[in-house]
């Protein structure tokens, strides 16, 4: 024994014990595992929550120093990212300018033209500002962030954004910072707007960048209500020089004082930008995730033969996910902080860890023998796969180890994670998944038991041991509840797996819930990260709306100048602000008295102005810097306190700077105060309206999309059950939900025509086919070719003598010739010849030479109608009947002179001719209809209403024997080898034996010359044999109510009666073995086959499976509303049909309903099974083939040429895989389409 083998054995033994352990104590082990997972995931709590928004950190301005490069030592309150100098210091000069007082002569453009014009002077001021102290003279040039080229993709912005030198942006950039260009610009708004993107935008636009405040706040628009223009001059500084900035601040403040500004200038805000994931970056990530899900899907699809496929798939995914979490948690615990982007490496980790082991485990456990105990199954399955699992694990570890030695930090880290993940995955597989699997398998067994328990309880004498069908182990089957369908809604049943997924989604409303949860999470993330400044915007809205919002705001303006009740008049209640202080530049002071009654734009400074940049899009700064190829990802910028600047311009100034084109703009508003009244609300509301409209549009599109998906995925007739699928027409084939409809077969069924009325009984033995119509006519057909071999006429003569009979016959002949001619001209010719020339059957007529002249004469003498009646075998049959009726008769009073009497009788008709032969078996009793028909060999057994049993020769059409002993109608017949069992209406059961005797009389005939050479005509019962049918036993009171069904197989005869019981008899000695009770209604259907499977169905809609050996009930299910009309069993399932026209397919071992098929009305009973895997059902004018295991509709064969078909009520499966079904007065022989044979 080599080392490997020994190792292998050890491993397998260890796994075996482990499996036993897991299966024995599932709950403690799962609890233990859960605790382990939670413990390992605990360190994850320390990790910061991921968020896309930037982070802020505020420091005081006074003692600000550039943070050290090395984060080192104690961090204190400082965030981790706060080390080293920032990318830039942002210094904003916030300008608020207004023309005041507003004059009615002014046009709207004036509200911003001259205020904007002031920016150039301000820029000059800033650029030329010098600060000199002991350390020298400094200007802005020395401090500011020098930028070089714009990104090559931004040519169109070249003239606008600064390309060289300091990064200073202001609205002046629109005009290249040149006052002349500004003055000559005829349309300022157009200049500003031309760079705006069309449509809706979420990111920062150029206008935002240059103005430095949000678009609506700038006040640069024609219908702005406030007439206060706000903009900033934004400087990016490379280094921080407190003294220079201080001097600049004081200089600007001195030049342009903001009287009521109380901005506190004591904080520097540092903003840290995370690595932003753009859409472009998201696409590969998304792709990997899609591939990951495809991988998981394809893997879990392989899980089969378990009770809950989805549960196990979920367990597998949970195993992998929690092992990942555990690995991250463990790594964090041991101080390995993850630097990799978790979202990116996650899919690869899953792929590396894989789901394979789980699947292998499941497969191995499932393939162990089912009759073992669950514990042992688990243990065996585990130990079978132990070696491969260990081998795989070792290989993977080796590969990862190799990866670790690449010495690339990122790969090393990945490998470390993968190793920990692999180990924890192994741990979880062994403990968690194995246990879940054992629970699952136990549930499966329990389900089996549950189905059987009532049966065992109800049967006192039953032995529990042999109940288990050892000879038929539960076959692999799909999980029952995944394909149990609501019958009516899924008429066109076809269940590929993809559809099952859809059904699953539909049933659990999974998609809905996921969308709901997703939306909630998304909203949560939105609120959490606040990317669009939503929270601030809302807060601003609220504070703007509420009158108290502005209470604390000191404001400029004289309260009594608002005489009318506009919104701002609420402010008049407030204590008026202190009178406008003297402003050197403010020329409006002088105009104030006469400005009463006119609006004075107010310039207010509020605390929110100090953080105007916070209102900007959080992409504002990354965007600005990205134009110069500077990334802010994982870096921070520092915002210095803004410098407030206020401009008050006089109307004269505004008029002076006015461009001649400005007046061409929209006429001034009719009332100067109108904007005041209406202005602000539209501003705010417009955005809201936009958002609402957008949301509405998105909703509509979503609904349309969902509707489309619904149409694509859901069945066409969903929700309108019972209307659409009432009948299946030729045009609308049943199709599955993907529009795929199984093909109509190319072969056309063989129509067997001849019966004048609806077909009542059908019987077949594979070679021959016997049918009986309501008129009592029995026809025998060749099951292979469809030729009508024999016609056993009843009141043939009565009909023949009338002209109606003639027409009928004629019609039949033509019809059959047509139908046959279509397929086989040769057969047609042969048939014709056979019919036309009686000499084609010399064997029949050679030994009766004296008959031929009679025939000839009869052809000549008789009316044509009779002549046709005599066509074919009728003569032979007559003669044979003559033999039959005379030779075996025990009475010697009738000499063997058979020639004339039968002939005479034939010519006279079929009227009861009892007087001449009173003692012999009476002639065929044509008056009572045939209730039961059986066919074996070439003998047809027909049970009539009168209680008479007749045996006919199928080939020759002669009555071989009859028995009149019973008086009660024969309701059912069974014909096995040489025994016939007849069940009667009275509830009695007769056992007949069919004996063959070489008749004496025949020997005598043989002795006569010319008759010795008569060849045997039939394989089973030679026509010369005398057949007698004797009652061997009559069970008078088998049931005390009429027997409804009778089946015989495997030496057993089973009867079902309306007295709610089923009885099992032994065929040989007619001994009653069991009386099976359990139905609460009359028995309507019984199935028994050679393997002694007995199933019965009753009027109560219940189906019982019985063990024929012990007489115990194996299972008992209720499946139908109304009678069970037919039952068929295969090795794996039981198929039942009921009066509710529903066909149900049950799992035989567990009694769980697999699925059901809604039949056409009245076709419920017609079903058959071909070769265990193919179900045939009849419909209106068609026959459908179904794949039995999954319920897929394979093919539909239409029987008639017209779309209006009659219902197929009976269906018989022949041995040669042909199907015979009745089709009104016709029979239809359908060969199973060749494409279906692929299933076998």
């Amino acid at each position: 024994m080599t080392v490997t083998e020994r190792l292998r054995q050890k491993i397998s033994v260890a796994f075996y014990w482990h499996g036993l352990l897991c299966a024995s104590y599932p709950v403690p082990i799962i609890l233990f595992t859960a605790v382990c997972i939670l413990a390992c995931c605990y360190p994850l709590l320390k990790l910061p929550l991921p968020g896309a928004g930037p982070e802020k950190f505020t420091t005081g301005v006074r003692d600000y120093t550039v943070p050290p490069e090395d984060p080192g030592g104690e961090l204190g309150e400082r965030p981790e990212w706060y080390h080293g100098p920032p990318v830039a210091y942002i210094q904003q000069v916030l300008v608020k300018a207004a023309v005041s007082p507003w004059d009615s002569k002014l046009v709207p453009v004036d509200a911003f033209r001259s205020p904007l014009g002031r920016v150039f002077a301000l820029l000059d001021e800033i650029r030329s500002h010098m600060h000199s102290d002991s350390s020298g003279v400094r200007s802005l040039e020395a401090l500011c962030l020098q930028v070089t080229d714009l990104l090559p993709g931004l040519r169109r912005l070249q003239t606008i954004l600064p390309e060289h030198g300091c990064l200073i942006v202001s609205p002046g950039n629109y005009w290249q910072n040149q006052r002349e260009l500004f003055d000559t610009d005829p349309d300022l708004l157009k200049t500003v707007q031309q760079h705006e993107p069309k449509g809706l935008h979420v990111s920062a636009t150029l206008k935002d960048l240059l103005f430095g405040v949000r678009g609506q706040q700038t006040g640069v628009s024609l219908n702005s209500g406030k007439r206060v223009v706000t903009y900033t001059v934004t400087m990016a500084l490379r280094s921080y020089d407190a003294r220079f900035l201080g001097s600049l601040r004081s200089r600007l403040k001195q030049l342009h004082p903001s009287s009521n500004c109380s901005l506190r200038e004591e904080h520097i805000v540092h903003v840290y930008f995370k690595e932003e994931i753009g859409v472009a970056e998201l696409i590969p990530l998304l792709t990997t995730y899609i591939i990951l899900f495809a991988y998981i899907y394809f893997s879990t699809r392989k899980i089969d033969m378990v009770r809950s496929k989805w549960g196990l798939a979920l367990a597998a995914v949970v195993t992998v996910l929690s092992s990942l979490l555990m690995s991250v948690g463990l790594c964090t615990l041991f101080g390995l902080t993850p630097t990799l982007n978790g979202g990116e490496i996650f899919p690869y980790l899953v792929v590396v860890i894989g789901l394979e082991n789980v699947l292998v485990l499941t497969k191995s456990v499932v393939s162990t023998p089912v009759d073992l105990e669950v514990k042992l199954r688990i243990a065996q399955g585990l130990s079978n796969e132990s070696w491969s699992i260990m081998k795989n694990m070792a290989t993977e570890l080796c590969i990862i180890l190799i990866g670790y030695f690449t010495l690339v930090p990122a790969i090393q880290e990945f490998c470390l994670f993968a190793v920990v993940g692999l180990v924890s995955d192994f741990f979880l597989q062994m403990l968690f998944f194995t246990t879940v699997l054992s629970i699952d398998i136990r549930r499966m067994e329990l389900a089996d038991l549950n189905r059987r328990l009532p049966a065992e309880a109800g049967m006192p004498p039953s032995k529990p041991g042999p109940l288990r069908p050892r000879e038929t182990p539960p076959p692999p089957r799909p999980s029952p509840h995944t394909i149990t369908l609501q019958p009516p809604a899924f008429r066109n049943l076809r269940l590929p797996k993809r559809l099952r997924v859809v059904y699953f989604l539909a049933r659990t409303r999974l998609a809905q819930r996921i969308i709901m949860v997703g939306t909630v999470i998304w909203i949560g993330i939105l609120v959490y990260t606040d990317p669009a400044g939503l929270r601030i915007y809302l807060a601003a809205q609220v504070s703007e709306q509420s009158p108290l919002g502005g209470a604390g705001l000191p404001h400029l303006g004289v309260a009594p100048v608002f005489p009318r009740g506009d919104p701002t008049s609420t402010l008049s209640v407030l204590p008026p602000a202190e009178p406008t202080p003297a402003l050197p530049e403010n020329l409006s002071q002088g105009h104030a008295p006469q400005a009463a009654g006119r609006a004075v734009p107010q310039i207010r400074w509020g605390p929110e102005d100090g953080e105007a940049w916070k209102h900007l899009s959080f992409r504002h700064w990354p965007l600005l810097f990205s134009y110069y190829n500077i990334t802010l990802a994982k870096r921070y910028i520092s915002f210095l306190p803004v410098i407030p600047v206020t401009f008050h311009l006089s109307p004269q100034e505004a008029l002076e700077t006015r461009h001649p084109h400005d007046t061409h703009h929209a006429p001034p508003p009719p009332s100067s105060t109108a904007p005041d009244r209406e202005g602000p609300p539209p501003q705010g509301d417009l955005t809201l309206y936009k958002v609402a409209a957008l949301g509405l549009a998105a909703g509509v599109i979503l609904v349309l999309l969902l509707f489309f998906l619904y149409r694509v995925l859901c069945p066409r007739n969903y929700g309108q059950n019972g209307v659409q699928h009432g009948r299946r027409r030729r045009g609308d084939l049943p199709c599955d939900d993907y529009g795929y409809s199984p093909p109509v077969s190319e072969i056309s069924p063989l129509l067997l025509r001849g019966h004048s009325m609806d077909i009542e009984c059908l019987a077949s033995d594979g070679m021959l086919l016997a049918s009986c119509c309501l008129a009592g006519q029995i026809r025998v057909w060749d099951a292979q070719t469809g030729d009508c071999l024999t016609l056993i006429p009843n009141h043939g003569l009565r009909h023949c003598s009338s002209s109606g009979g003639w027409e009928q016959r004629n019609g039949w002949d033509v019809g059959e010739l047509e139908s046959l001619g279509a397929e086989d001209p040769d057969a047609d010719v042969a048939l014709l010849r056979r019919r036309a020339a009686p000499s084609s059957r010399p064997s029949l007529f050679m030994d009766q030479p004296d008959l031929t002249p009679l025939i000839d004469t009869s052809f000549a003498r008789l009316p044509p109608s009779q002549a046709t009646c005599h066509s074919g075998f009728d003569f032979g049959e007559l003669v044979e009947r003559a033999y039959l009726e005379h030779e075996p008769s025990p009475s010697p009073t009738y000499p063997p002179s058979p020639h004339t009497p039968p002939q005479r009788r034939r010519s006279v008709g079929d009227q009861p001719m009892a007087p001449p032969e009173p003692a012999c078996s009476s002639p065929p009793d044509w008056d009572s209809s045939v209730w039961a028909l059986e066919l074996r060999g070439n003998l047809i057994a027909a049970g009539r209403r009168s209680g008479r049993l007749e045996l006919w020769d199928a080939v020759e059409g002669s009555l071989r024997c009859s028995n009149d002993e019973g008086v009660s109608g024969i309701t059912a017949l069974a014909f096995l080898s040489n025994r016939i069992v007849a069940a009667r209406l009275s509830g009695s059961l007769d056992f007949f034996t069919v004996d063959m005797n070489k008749p004496l009389g025949l020997r005598q005939y043989r002795g006569t010359p010319g008759r010795g050479s008569m060849p045997p005509l039939s394989p089973c019962y030679s026509s010369e044999d005398v057949i007698s049918c004797q009652v061997t036993r009559s069970v008078q009171c088998a049931h005390h109510k009429p027997i409804t069904v009778l089946r015989a197989a495997a030496g057993r005869v089973v009867t079902g009666s309306q007295d709610h019981t089923v009885r099992v008899y032994r065929l040989e000695d007619s001994c009653c073995l069991f009386t099976l009770q359990g139905h609460s209604g009359g028995i309507t259907a019984i199935y028994i086959d050679q393997t002694m499977v007995l199933a019965s169905g009753g009027q109560d809609g219940a189906i019982c499976l019985w063990d024929v050996l012990t007489g115990s009930r194996v299972s008992h299910v209720y499946g139908h509303r109304g009678d069970v009309t037919s039952l068929v069993c295969t090795t794996s399932c039981v198929i039942s049909s009921g009066l509710d026209d529903l066909i149900c397919i049950w799992d035989r071992s567990t009694g769980i309903k697999l699925y059901s098929i809604q039949q056409d009305v009245g076709c419920g009973a017609s079903l058959g099974v071909i070769s265990d895997g193919l179900l045939v059902t009849g419909g209106l004018g068609c026959v459908s083939f179904w794949e039995l295991n999954y319920g897929d509709l394979l093919q539909t064969v239409y029987l008639g040429p017209s779309s209006e078909g009659q219902a197929v009520r009976q269906l018989l499966v022949l041995d040669n895989a042909a199907i015979v079904c009745d089709f009104g007065s016709e029979l239809s022989l359908v060969y199973v389409p060749s494409v279906l044979e692929k299933l076998d």
């Binding site: 696409i283 790969i411 590929p496 692929k1238």
Partner: protein, 230 residues
């Protein structure tokens, strides 16, 4: 056991594979070839677009707002070329298997194919995102990863040979294109380009071959079934 279940799974998966027109399409050689070609082409184009995006991201983390442009940042002819080549490879692999007489049986399942694609994307990801110290290290790592890919998902000698030869040819073509200045790499380092390109090509060939073989399995199965039936 595995094989039969596999075949069964495919039967089930291709749902209508047991009946009429679908069978006809599948068994019709030309139609089958066209279907496979189209599928391979779309996979090739998609992967080339996505992987190109990965490469583009290597240096720039923040994009100018026009994202759509960056998706199609490569020249227009690159994706169709990739698609065509992947069609070629995907059809060539099963063909060679057929010529050698034994169909590829190792891990013939869709889940394994998906795993293979994921690993391929991962290799690209690593080459694009991970910072290596020098190019030798990068190329060695990539080579090891590619060979690991082959060993994990293919393990056939024909596959290896074909992969190496096609990778060689593709690298040669690329270099020729660069010499003729049809396009250029952002990084001027010649050695750098040469080092990672063949490995990526090799991994790509293995992946596409894997997909192609898996797709060809349908035909195989159905044809076999047909034979059985006949």
């Amino acid at each position: 056991m595995a094989d039969t279940s596999d075949v069964k799974a495919h039967q089930l998966e291709s749902g209508p594979a047991v009946c009429g027109p679908y069978i006809a399409v599948i068994t019709n050689k030309t139609a089958n070839l066209v279907i496979r070609g189209v599928m391979l082409f779309s996979v090739g184009v998609f992967l080339s677009l996505v992987l190109n995006l990965l490469q583009v991201q290597r240096n720039i983390t923040l994009f100018p707002p026009d994202v759509i442009a960056s998706v199609f940042s490569s020249a227009w002819w690159v994706p169709p070329c990739c698609g065509t080549v992947s069609v070629m490879i995907g059809l060539l692999y099963p063909c060679i298997d057929h010529c050698l007489g034994k169909p590829h049986k190792f891990k013939r399942e869709w889940s394994s194919v998906m795993r293979c694609i994921a690993v391929f994307v991962g290799i690209n990801h690593a080459s694009a995102k991970v910072d290596f110290e020098n190019n030798v290290q990068l190329s060695l790592t990539l080579a090891a990863l590619s060979i690991g890919l082959w060993w994990t998902f293919d393990r056939s000698r024909s596959g290896f040979g074909l992969g190496v030869s096609i990778a060689f040819l593709a690298t040669l073509t690329t270099q020729l294109l660069v010499y003729n200045e049809v396009f250029q790499y952002t990084s001027p380092d010649f050695l750098y380009i040469r080092s990672w390109l063949p490995c990526i090509f090799f991994a790509g060939v293995i992946t596409m071959g894997n997909i192609g073989r898996q797709l060809a399995m349908y035909e195989c199965n159905v044809v076999q079934e047909k034979k059985h039936q006949d």
